[in-house]
């Protein structure tokens, strides 16, 4: 259930031409895409033309739906939702805007087309997904799993370290000192947890406390 965010913007250099802007996003059923398509402009008249109903995006959809599907102007955000698994999808939107001298030189409007495409339900092509008996995904290739590693308890009298082989400050190791009224601060290092006695402010320790520690270590 991931929401992907995609913004596509046409360049001002492409204003005179019928340009196409493309993006690719593979997606799983249950995921959605938050899509914003913006036509860059140079002049006031060009910018104002994008607010008119004549500049509403005209959608061509394959294996997906969009919401809202009507009344969408440049710069507004829509939600793209895939329909069928194991198939390609595309969401194409064409916006018409004013231009004083378009190429080819017909009239005073030009178009920009935004094409978002990809495949549904086949990403990634590796990894593990585990379902429960009801078909709900219990663990997926993009899910981190919170796991218990160990618990360390004791009492310190000075700053010290405890050895925890493998631990590192890499964002995957979690610690929490949950000893009651503990004054012990702890920090994740490489293969160690550093334990420090706390230092209070100018008023000193007003609150009692002790130098016991009970540190749970977990992985995420």
């Amino acid at each position: 259930m991931t929401t992907h965010t995609i913004a596509m913007t046409s360049s001002t250099a492409s204003l005179p031409y019928p340009a196409t802007v493309s993006a690719n996003q593979d997606i799983a059923v249950g995921d959605t895409i938050s899509l914003t398509m913006t036509v860059s402009t140079n002049t006031y008249a060009e910018g104002m033309s994008l607010t008119a109903s004549s500049a509403y995006a005209v959608f061509t959809l394959i294996n997906c739906t969009v919401s809202p599907s009507t009344g969408v102007n440049s710069g507004e955000t829509i939600t793209v939702t895939p329909i069928n698994n194991n198939a390609a999808y595309s969401c194409s939107a064409t916006i018409t805007h004013y231009h004083a001298s378009p190429y080819p030189p017909v009239g005073t409007t030009q178009t920009k087309t935004f094409v978002l495409s990809g495949v549904v339900g086949v990403l990634p092509v590796y990894g593990l997904e585990i379902f429960d008996a009801n078909g709900n995904s219990r663990l997926r290739y993009d899910n981190r799993l919170c796991k218990f590693h160990s618990v360390y308890t004791g009492t310190i009298s000075n700053n010290t370290t405890i050895s925890v082989p493998g631990i590192a400050a890499d964002g995957t190791w979690g610690i929490n000192n949950q000893a009651q009224n503990s004054l012990v601060q702890c920090f994740v290092g490489t293969n160690v947890i550093a334990l420090n006695t706390t230092s209070f402010g100018t008023g000193g320790n007003l609150y009692g406390g002790n130098y016991n520690y009970e540190i749970i270590v977990f992985r995420v």
């Binding site: 981190r144 799993l145 610690i175 929490n176 949950q178 009651q180 503990s182 012990v184 402010g201 100018t202």
Partner: protein
């Protein structure tokens, strides 16, 4: 690892490694957060009185006592992982903390935060080898000691992010927000559209709290309170859920409150021990 089973996420984080152990949801429910110290017999896990029980500000919510919930038999406060989330988005200030005794826990909030009838959902997790469902199918992975590293027959906690720190607070501010406190986080949800599904580990809220006597004399030793002559502020780290376009969770120290007279000492409330929070979704 020299043997066994290893699976990684698509961006390289270890999921199942045959070494670390999966959390098991042992109890769950919903409860309205409340305050502590309503009774003079209300004490923390090492016997200290939790709070003066008189002279509280009447327009706050001091009479809403936090509900005491039993830790299942066979486990104690040092064995459990307490996760919680707001049950809905209705509550405006979504601040919660917790406190343990040897056999119970309570989900708390500052006195100035009124949860009304709004509740939080909690899940109490432990480490054991029990499973939730039919074991005739699915995947189980054990570590070398025979303990359960993963079972598809369990509700699974999909951890997303972790942060830790020491939520000190500068006493010179009276702001009832994270201003003045060292903030752990905020951790922004990877899936903002599923913000109501996110739980946060609360254990770190319980370990230590700070007291501050204000005005009228020199700093007092802990837990001494003279009603009518001194004010007292009680500090604890709380977790705050913020639901908006960019939902997140953070931890910081804030005051609950009893009486207050005059100004603060310019003292640092160093809530001493290190706290860690992790967010994720149970599936």
């Amino acid at each position: 690892m020299g043997y066994g089973f290893l699976s990684n996420t698509d961006n390289g984080y270890a999921q199942i490694d045959g070494e670390n152990l999966q959390l098991k949801v042992l109890a769950s429910g919903s409860v309205v957060p409340g305050v502590i110290g309503i009774s003079s017999s209300d004490k923390d896990g090492v016997g200290n009185s939790l709070y003066p029980n008189s002279g509280r500000i009447s327009n706050w919510h001091p009479s809403k006592a936090a509900t005491s919930i039993s830790i299942p038999t066979g486990y104690s406060s040092s064995d459990v992982f307490l996760f919680a989330r707001p049950s809905s988005s209705t509550q405006s200030t979504k601040m919660i903390g917790c406190i343990f005794s040897s056999s119970t826990f309570r989900i708390t909030c500052p006195e100035w935060v009124n949860w009304g009838s709004n509740t939080v959902d909690y899940k109490l997790c432990v480490i054991n080898n029990d499973e939730d469902e039919n074991t005739n199918y699915g995947l189980r992975v054990f570590n070398a000691a025979g303990d359960l590293g993963f079972s598809s027959n369990r509700t699974n906690f999909k951890g997303e992010q972790f942060a830790y720190g020491t939520p000190s607070r500068n006493m010179t501010t009276t702001s009832s927000s994270d201003y003045g406190s060292t903030v752990i986080g905020p951790m922004y949800f990877d899936k903002p559209n599923e913000k109501l599904d996110y739980y946060c580990l609360l254990n770190g809220c319980a370990a230590y709290s700070g007291w501050q006597i204000v005005t009228g004399g020199s700093p007092q030793q802990s837990f001494i309170y003279n009603a009518g002559t001194r004010g007292m502020f009680w500090y604890q780290p709380y977790v705050q859920f913020v639901y908006g376009s960019n939902p997140s969770v953070k931890m910081f120290s804030d005051y609950s409150k009893s009486q207050a007279y005059g100004s603060y000492f310019g003292n640092q409330v160093d809530l001493a021990s290190t706290r860690g929070i992790v967010i994720g979704i149970f599936v």
